[in-house]
Amino acid sequence: MFSISYFSLINNFCSGLFIILIFFLFTHCDIKKNEIKPESSFAKIYNNEKIEGSFYPIDLKQTSDGGFLVLAAANLWDTYLLKINSKGEQEWDTTITSIVNPIGDLSISNNGSLRFFGMDKLSRQITLLEISQDKNLNELKRFSFTTTALSSSPTPNGGYLLLSYNYDKGKTFFHIISPVFETIYEQEYDPLEDVTDKIDAHVYRRGISYPFFTGTILNGNTTVGYYVNVFYEYRIALQFIDAGGLPAGKLDGYSYRGGLSSFLPLANNQFALSRFAFEENFFTPNVPINIEDIQSVSKLNGKQIYDISAYAKVVLKKAIIGGRDILIYGSTTKNNRIILYFYTPTGEYLGQKYLGAVFPYELFNFIHTNDGGLAILGKTFVAGRFPRVCLFKLSSEEIGGILK
């Protein structure tokens, strides 16, 4: 016969329970740390109830209130502007049917308004517009040339680079526009063949979207040249122009099926770029290029990136995240997800991040935000059907967690 010591039993029970409780309290005291600023991280889809409505994002900029202004095309062609607050919620949107074919880059004026190029629907003239954060639209300049804008970018002195296609002449034109909106330079590029179908497919978003882009090459604060990715002499090619406006070297693509998809000057004739060749994509995070040289893009080494879909848009930018200089490539994968690749400026791979799942998601642009994070602009097909703008915000901590 044995007897049970209830005191010992209870003592064992309570002490064991106490140990377990203390263990979990120490390992699970996560309640107090359960805080995050709502503006630091979010994912949003800007929806409406119209089946016929379709939206194609173009560019975004962060506004002075910490929110964002998105430039997009509505119904393929009309100008659509969307104001988002710092937490990702829609503040207002507006569709401007009198201005069509809007293009990026959005640029910020001294008064905090945002500027972009579009085309006046009646006169077919390229127009520079400005919209304030409270939705007031102002036409700054209507240019005399009746061409279809393909790309633009702001210059460091407040002017603009503008690339446009003239259907009548069958040529692409590159203009440098001064800070007071005067055309101070013009260069034409002749493809020497009819590329109307390709331009139409690009402009009306009904086929391959070609990587037309422009930019400025700086040495410190001094402009040493410009670059233009354009149809020229039976191919797509990156043309260099020196600071004096004289054509310099170029990087030739292969017909219209191989060329640069993004290009970013780093420093001292070093560049980061991506290129496409038929349905393959390659990243070259750091390569020396003499802008006076003429060479083929296929001679540029690079790492083949198997994830990215054929002819996908590639956005390449620099950012300082967590005190580190980072190169970021953004694109769209073959299974329709947004992907970001992170490299050091010397080309060392740091990590990657996927965004979106199940339904198609496509990257259109991203920016480095004031809080050190990233805002990624994309398009998704809601419920697999309806094209809508989406915006992902990643905090610097989230990105830091991705980087090696």
């Binding site: 039993l9 064992n12 409406n48 998704t380 419920a383």
Partner: protein, 296 residues
């Protein structure tokens, strides 16, 4: 599943080793037959159902836009059934006041719906109804102070206290219904079901208070109990840092966790035995005594 096993093994081992240690401590205080009312220490098991009604602190939606219904519609508590099972141990300070601790394995469940629709200019429309069910597995450790009122063998009581829960696992079931008149049919219906592990979307910790009432009834050397407790969560159980972390949920099924607290009604049955004067087992196979002596 592995975690559930771990907890089960942990609890079983703990109780088992406690008994073994005590059983081996021969020569210690020998128990005598006594009165149920005179018992100070109690131990038993408890099981039952629970019904969850989340308290929404801040709603979140993947979508933003004008004229959209973005808030989710949460099901009533009777549709959010859960289950719990555990052990209880208590100490009666007087015939009217006791303290009990009840480590239990809790399964909470709650569900909500979100509806999105699109319409064209001639009235064709697509409705998507997402039904989400969250199932959460916790190890809860509640501590109660219980006040009795004696009515012969019946002892009604009220009790109050707090609990600390540890999230063991989580699961999310999603079903999607689609009503589509675009495809030419007057009515089209498809349904998709998906299941995700959602443990990362919740905090590991759960704190709360509880208030309840019940009744016990003594049968031989067992004390059978029935109780109903209302449990109010004190903290937001959503892990806000991981709210957007699950691509498949956020981008794929448009599910974004609201900030919320768990509110829950628990209904339980318990069986307890007095440890200090009723459990008296003979090594030679003798039966426990059924005699009961009334307290003075």
């Amino acid at each position: 599943m592995i975690l559930k096993k771990q907890v089960f093994i942990l609890l079983t081992l703990f109780v088992f080793t406690s008994f073994l240690k005590v059983a081996d401590s021969k020569g210690q205080q020998k128990l005598t037959e006594g009165d149920m009312d005179a018992s100070k220490w109690w131990m038993g098991i408890k099981t039952g159902a629970n019904f969850t009604s989340p308290q929404i602190i801040v709603p979140y939606s993947v979508f933003s836009g004008e004229n959209l219904t973005l808030e989710k519609s949460y099901s009533g508590s009777l549709q959010n059934k859960g289950f719990q099972i555990g052990i209880l141990a208590g100490h009666a300070f007087t015939n009217f006041l006791s303290v009990t601790i009840q480590p239990s394995y809790f399964i909470y469940s709650y569900s909500y719906q979100a509806n999105y629709n699109w319409i064209d200019t001639v009235g064709n429309k697509i409705d998507l109804n997402f039904n989400y069910q969250q199932i959460l597995y916790y190890l809860d450790i509640p501590l109660f102070v219980r006040f009795y009122y004696k009515l012969g063998k019946f002892q009604p009581f009220i009790q109050g206290g707090g609990y600390y829960g540890i999230l063991l696992n989580g699961r999310k079931n999603i079903s999607i219904e689609e009503n589509n008149t675009l495809s030419g049919a007057a009515y089209d219906f498809t349904e998709t079901k998906k299941t995700f592990n959602n443990k990362n979307l919740f905090l590991k910790s759960l704190l709360g208070w509880t208030l309840g009432a019940g009744l016990t009834y003594d049968i031989e050397w067992f004390r059978i109990g029935f109780e109903v407790n209302y449990r109010g969560g004190l903290n937001n159980i959503t892990n806000v840092k991981n709210r957007f972390s699950e691509n498949n949920l956020v981008s794929g099924v448009y599910d974004l966790m609201d900030d919320l607290k768990l509110r829950n009604t628990e209904v339980s049955l318990s069986v307890a035995v007095p440890l200090d004067n009723l459990v008296h087992v003979s090594r030679s196979g003798g039966k426990p005594s059924k005699k009961r002596k009334r307290a003075n």
